[in-house]
């Protein structure tokens, strides 16, 4: 249980939160970890709150849901405000700059990532902000290896979108490096 890490990705419907969670979990499994992943979204078809929670462990996981986050990713202000208190003291928050105004009084490490901005400006596509964020996440936390994410992208993303997603992932990693540096 020592090696258990709990990640919460959050935002609103349509931001690709669930897909990001899928890739993250898949990557974990590919690396031989035990992983559990669960999502939740509002009943409405679109636009309501959405989260994806992934638990990683070296041992079989008893309780499969997140209990307290080691890592919180917030892609919207609403998500940030809902979950910002539920992060371990040693934990870390990644938030989408531009979309989230962080609460600097929190006692955890917080990193702003311009995921949506990069996605729109650099990749000319607002759909891959999630993947940009994923890149930053992987880079800053080392939760899984970049290689595993690339394999996960190959498995789950339709061929024609793979290049774009890989590119977004790399942009995200670059961002992460900058932040980390």
């Amino acid at each position: 249980m020592s090696e258990m890490r709990q990640v919460r990705l959050s935002g609103f419907g349509g931001q690709g939160i669930v897909l990001a969670g899928l890739l993250l979990g898949q990557a974990g499994v590919m690396e031989g970890k035990y992983v559990t992943g669960s999502n939740s979204y509002g009943a409405q078809a679109r636009g309501s709150g959405c989260k994806s929670e992934i638990v990683f462990s070296d041992h079989p996981i008893h309780y499969p849901h997140l209990i307290i986050a080691d890592i919180l990713v917030a892609m919207s202000q609403g998500a940030y405000q809902t979950y910002d208190e539920e992060v371990k003291e040693s934990g870390i928050i990644l938030y989408d700059r531009g979309r989230v105004v962080p609460n600097m009084e929190l006692n955890v490490k917080q990193l702003g990532v311009s995921a949506t901005e990069i996605s729109l400006k650099k990749l000319k596509n607002k759909q891959v902000a999630n993947i940009v964020m994923l890149g930053a996440l992987v880079e800053t936390t080392g939760i899984v290896s970049p290689r595993a994410i690339r394999k996960a992208i190959a498995l789950h993303i339709p061929k024609r979108f793979q290049a774009l997603n890989l590119k977004a992932f790399h942009k995200g990693m670059e961002l992460g490096k900058q932040i980390n540096a």
């Binding site: 636009g47 609403g78 607002k126």
Partner: protein, 107 residues
């Protein structure tokens, strides 16, 4: 498509209603639904170019969110951005191309 009782009004400016969140929205999903005041603005903002609107009200008939009305006094077309989801239908059906969707501003 037919046009509803076109009373031959002179082209007027379709008026964009000022956003005002009348009630504080409650809860998380509620808040996200409208995307928050600021986001809504960005998501759905469109340029109602005044040049051609003839107040035919086609947009109003086809708006899925009932946000387009005609001001009973002025005959102007009003859009209630509180409810607009930015689907773009109004823009696409306006026979005069008087409504244009613009990408989320600033981002």
């Amino acid at each position: 498509m037919a046009i509803k009782e076109c009373k031959g009004e002179v082209a007027r400016k379709a008026k964009q209603k000022t956003l005002s969140l009348r009630r504080p929205r409650e809860g998380f999903s509620q808040m996200e639904l409208g995307l928050g005041k600021k986001e809504a603005l960005k998501e759905a903002q469109r340029c109602l170019s005044l040049r051609k609107c003839e107040s035919c009200e086609v947009c109003g008939l086809l708006c899925p969110d009932l946000c387009i009305t005609r001001d009973p006094k002025t005959g102007e077309i009003l859009i209630d951005l509180d409810y607009c989801k930015g689907c773009g239908i109004c823009a696409s059906v306006c026979p005069k191309g008087a409504i244009q969707m613009v990408l989320e501003e600033g981002l």
